[in-house]
Symmetry: C2
DNA sequence: CGGGGGTTTGAAAAATCTCAAATCTAGTGG
DNA sequence: CCACTAGATTTGAGATTTTTCAAACCCCCG
């Protein structure tokens, strides 16, 4: 199971063996279950998604929710806890999620012992940071249409990179309300925007399935450039699955 | 100079010596100079701020700018380049900035050789990520008044943590337009919001200087909790200056 | 004293949100 | 196989927030 880890490290020789040897346990979460709880007690492991989708969220004083990132197979969802003391947000399963919990201390040790693994983890963390930055931009400076299109592009590309979508389209298993929480809009407005994108012939939708009708133009409308995802890092080192 | 690095690592014994021994060079940037340029060629060093302020920004297709983070003495401003190939954004000096450029390869090696240093760097990177997440929330789900108040709180606290402000107030050397770009609002609206905060007796302003009149209430209005800054990490390991 | 940026203000325009109701859809229990 | 229900998607219309555009002011600087 956890051997998927192997493929994501950039230049692993036989660090793989060490990775596989890590003490771990697979766990399954159903639909809207919390994988990490804000403020919760620090767990003693780090978890990596094997399959399914999950999202990271924070809640406002007024009760509004902001989804801060979406995660799929191959993503570590709580690298933070590798070194930070407290969970400042929570992570929830968006669909059925299979994940491995890895002994945190062992992972730390591995980073120290095997520089290549450490490097892969660093890369992973830095890319995640880059994605956060792009989200700040998306939510802070783009209008509704652009925001939603951008989200679709990012999701599509990441799904493809993870081998979970083909060039046709993809299943976006999120409620329109959740999409809204991800881009900082109301579910109502997301709905109108989605319809607008479809009306303009950029996408076609059938339930939660989104098919691209004009990928180039969609990227353009969404002001999307994949640079920030750093998908090319060291020859597919990252989240290759 | 670069010995300030020492104080930020959580449990440094005499890794300090190694840190000080790093090949480095101090450089000074004036007012609106670029320290890092988007898409620019990867430099061969990482830079840490010694004094002054800088901000990280990305630009939208329509030309809008979003400031994604603000940095002060003790912050690494391009940890990303430690392992990522390309700059996906730029960093500009907000005031006169003194910074040290540290040989990237040497820094990487140091992380490997001295686990304690590596850990400090990890913590630093993870905290930065946490701050980004909070910014996504701020910009995505809070109204103008709350956003601006939140920014003020964060800045105030970080300045204090860095020993650059006292309990009275602080100098916020940003244009209202820049503040707007940081919180995703228009300079005009920032102006009105700032006046509102003052009118409500939360702050008092004199030019760019902001004095708190009711720190508690300001935090409340700004929906601010310092948890996400992880200032307590390992007994002031971080950016203690 | 003349600029040039930055800050204020006003008023109208635009984007987004709210509230509410109508529709749909998948799942449940008869 | 069908009625029924809860949650999700749509749609409409008015209310709000934020943006735009423009002009007035201010203050530091040379």
């Amino acid at each position: 199971m956890a051997r998927r880890l192997r493929s994501r490290a950039d230049l692993d020789d036989e660090d793989c063996r060490a990775i596989i040897a890590l003490p771990h346990a697979v766990r399954v979460y159903e639909a809207p279950a919390y994988i990490i709880r804000e403020g919760g007690p620090p767990t003693s492991y780090c978890t990596l998604i094997l399959s399914g989708l999950a999202f990271r969220q924070k809640v406002t004083l007024t009760g509004a929710r902001q989804i801060v990132s979406i995660h799929m197979a191959g993503d570590f969802i709580d690298l933070q806890h590798l070194f930070l003391k407290r969970a400042d947000h929570s992570v929830q399963a968006l669909s059925r999620v299979e994940a491995v919990d890895i002994e945190r201390s062992a992972l730390r040790q591995l980073i120290i012992d095997r520089p290549a693994v450490g490097r892969a983890m660093w890369t992973d963390a830095l890319i995640e940071g880059s994605v956060f930055r792009e989200w700040v931009v998306n939510v802070g400076r783009r209008d509704a249409k652009t925001r939603v299109a951008h989200l679709l592009c990012e999701f599509a590309l990441r799904m493809q990179a993870a081998g979970l979508a083909n060039g046709e389209g993809f299943e976006l298993p999120m409620t329109q309300e959740q999409i809204g929480d991800a881009v900082g809009l109301t579910s109502v407005h997301v709905n109108r925007t989605l319809k607008l994108l479809a009306a303009e012939g950029l996408i076609e939708r059938d339930k939660r399935f989104v098919k691209y009708r004009d990928w180039q133009r969609l990227q353009h409308v969404g002001d999307f450039t994949s640079l920030y995802l750093h998908l090319d890092q060291a020859g597919g080192e990252q989240k290759t699955l």
